[in-house]
Amino acid sequence: MTLEKLKPGECAYIIHIGGHEKLRRRLLDMGLTPGTLIVMKKRAPLKDPLEISVRSYELVLRKQDASLIEIEVIH
């Protein structure tokens, strides 16, 4: 599954970051490395972008970019 499908309040582990080099490296720099725990916080009023919680801070990213992040949901 990919990150944009995660519902608010759900948690997941990052499996893999895809996408072009620039975005990928930036996401890795921001701490979204494989194995990291993510919590989906909410969507912006217009449904996009998304807010996630990662490494004890809040990060906003677009659906389109989130769809490049493969995750495994924790139930």
Binding site: G19, R25, R26, D29, K42, R43, P45, V60, L61, R62
Partner: protein, 655 residues
């Protein structure tokens, strides 16, 4: 001795800078780095010069600001890095610290926001952290002014501090390869370790910068190929993972952070799916209403009355003293109304900046950027470009500089193009006076129409120049909500007031003198008997036919618009001199030059025509392109002319 202040965005860097330097800063340019970094002397250790560098997340070259900081660190002779970190978000902040540590430079880590840590019941085991990092740590609260003496002590001892071993960050094959590459770069001095890591990360800029001989390049190439075969993940990914693994280990041992819930709860309301956007609109309205009307506007009329009274007293005094009439004319018809008419708008400008920085400091601006990202995308921009555009309502110059935070050069250029369309606070006095003079009962609405028109034109331009390329990655950190620091707000307001007053006393003063001189004397440099015979009338009359289609027939308008290129406020000061007005009577006298319709077309022209010289200069400096600045001047003025002409001609048909 130079100390470089480095940290993530929003970790209190500016607050610390102001506290350490006592706000006595100046903007300095460093050769080789096109950055106007803030620099200042540390108040209690004057031998140290502190340089405030842009807030960054990493030393990778993905945004202008990261490049600036990196170039600065590599090129300048820096004695110490002061790395300020947000103690509540230590994990992500330490990622930058690890990269800074690769530079092998003396370094101090400053844990900021310790007051919040203590208040929330979180614990940081400082001595253990210090030992693990191998770097001296000072714990402070920049807002509450605590812990500075400890920081200064560490600074005093920084060159004598024994080099401690740090817990190794890189492990396994990466560590081995790093050592091998560093050995090949031995002649590159103290940065060999840093360069080695950057080569492992495939950093193209460092590779070009090093200019390695082909043989060494081949050796490194082979090393990297061998390394890649042994790694289960891609190389950059592996390095990032190792750094974060190291941070995770340390965090587990040294940190116990209790997350605050307040930000989450405030967000529930402010970014609410339904009321979030209306609240945003209301807050913007509120900012403008406070600045133009309730606080700024009121104070401005008080100041204007005071200045009027002073000018009258001065006139009485000069008359009694039987001063030379030409000198009286210079002071009473030139300098006082010219400078005074602009000076009286000081409260509005300061209030506007004050309000804008409250939005920024509380963390609400980041939420706005999040909420507005979707609509901004329609014109090929992101929520991040909203911030510089919004600052543009204050002043184009800091707005132009704020575009450095945009990671994409396309987006940056486009934002730069749109910034001048945001009515800056220099145009505000012109709007305010004209609205009061011609649209009495609807002044606030006409003012808002002008602001809106600028925004609508920006949307149209954005749409025309939108690109079909893939959208730029948009990553934005949401800071915790915070009460803004009163000291910072007051300091910033004083700074803006000082800027404004010094502008009035220099550019506006000079342009007032010039206008007075040109309209007082004729071609033979004799005192002109009629204003129509003056030098200024001659120049103005040559150009004014151009403005005929806009309904602006008088040479005095042309003259005022020309002086407006130096600074927009000069339009007012020139009109005040040319209409022989006092500070209070200027609004009433404007009726001699304008009808309500031509006043509106004039305002449209002022809204859209060329940015002031300072803004143009900043634009050229930031884009490093003279052509770009020139293009902007010509295009905008042409566009302003066309639009104002259409408005005037349509208005004549309809009214």
């Amino acid at each position: 001795m130079i100390a470089a202040l480095i940290g993530n965005q929003n970790c209190g860097k500016t607050t610390l800078f102001n506290a350490l330097t006592g706000g006595h800063q100046r903007t300095g340019n460093f050769p080789g780095v096109t950055v106007a970094a803030k620099i200042g002397k540390i108040k209690e250790r004057p031998q140290w010069t502190l340089v405030d560098l842009p807030g960054i997340y990493s030393l990778s070259p993905y945004s202008e600001e990261e490049m600036i900081t990196r170039d600065f660190l590599l090129r300048e002779d820096i004695q110490v890095i002061i790395n300020i970190v947000d103690a509540a978000h230590l994990e992500r902040n330490l990622y930058l610290s690890l990269q800074l540590m690769d530079l092998n430079m003396p370094m101090i880590i400053v844990l900021n926001m310790m007051d919040e840590i203590e208040a929330s019941g979180s614990v940081i085991h400082r001595s253990m952290l210090e030992e693990r990092l191998g770097i001296p740590i000072a714990a402070i609260s920049a807002v509450k002014n605590t812990g500075f003496s400890e920081l200064l002590e560490k600074l005093d001892r920084v060159d004598r501090a024994e080099k401690k071993d740090q817990h190794p960050v890189y492990v396994g094959e990466i560590a081995k390869a790093r050592l091998k590459i560093a050995a090949l770069l031995e002649n590159k001095g103290k940065f060999a370790d840093f360069f080695a890591v950057k080569l492992l990360e495939e950093d193209p800029f460092i590779r070009n910068h090093l200019k390695l001989p082909p043989k060494t390049q081949r050796q490194i190439e082979e090393l990297l190929i061998q390394l890649d075969e042994t790694l289960p993940f891609e190389r950059y990914e592996t390095i990032a993972m190792q750094r974060y693994q190291w941070i995770d280990e340390i965090s587990e041992q040294c940190l116990h952070i209790v997350k605050k819930k307040t930000s989450f709860q405030i967000d529930k309301i402010l970014t609410h799916p339904i009321i979030g956007l209306p609240l945003f609109a209301i807050s913007i309205f509120f900012v403008f209403w406070l600045s133009f009307d309730f606080v700024g506007g009121t104070l401005s009329s008080v100041l204007s009355a005071v200045l009027e009274y002073l000018s009258q007293s001065l006139l009485d005094y000069l008359t009694i003293k039987q001063t030379n009439p030409l000198l009286i004319s210079l002071v009473i018809e030139g300098i006082v109304p010219g400078v005074g008419s602009v000076l009286s708008f000081l409260p509005i400008v300061v209030t506007l900046f004050f309000n804008l920085s409250i939005l920024e400091d509380t963390g609400y601006m980041a939420r706005i950027a999040m909420m507005i990202d979707r609509p901004m995308r329609a014109i090929g921009l992101s929520g991040k470009s909203f911030v510089p555009l919004f600052i543009g309502f204050g002043c184009s110059v800091p707005a132009i500089m704020a575009t450095r935070t945009l990671p994409d050069s396309q987006e940056r250029r486009k934002t730069l193009l749109l910034i001048p369309l945001m009515s800056c606070s220099a145009k505000l006095p012109v709007y305010a006076l004209f609205c009061a003079a011609f649209f009495k009962n609807h002044a606030v609405y006409v003012m808002m129409v002008l602001y809106l028109l600028g925004i609508i034109f920006a949307l149209i331009f954005g749409f025309i120049f939108r690109t079909n390329e893939e959208a730029v990655p948009f990553l934005l950190e949401l800071p915790d909500y915070r009460l803004p620091s009163v000291r910072n707000l007051v300091m910033l307001s004083c700074e803006k007031a000082k800027d404004f007053i010094s502008k009035v006393l220099t550019i506006i003063f000079l342009s007032t003198l010039l206008i007075w001189f040109l309209q007082r004397f004729d071609v033979h440099l004799d005192v002109a008997s009629h204003p129509q015979d003056s030098l200024l009338a001659m120049i103005g009359q040559m150009i004014s036919p151009v403005f005929q289609p806009l309904g602006l027939n008088d040479w005095r308008i042309t003259a005022a618009l020309i002086t407006g290129i130096s600074a927009k406020e000069a339009i007012l000061s020139s009109l005040a001199v040319l209409l022989n007005s006092t500070i209070g009577s200027l609004a009433g006298n404007l009726g001699a030059l304008f009808t309500p319709l031509s006043a509106f077309s004039f305002l449209i022209f002022v809204l859209l025509y060329t940015p002031c010289l300072t803004a143009l200069r900043t634009m050229i400096k930031e884009t490093r392109s003279f052509k770009w600045g020139l293009l902007l001047l010509v295009l905008q003025t042409g566009f302003a002319w066309i639009t104002a002409a259409i408005v005037y001609q349509l208005g004549r048909l309809l009214l």
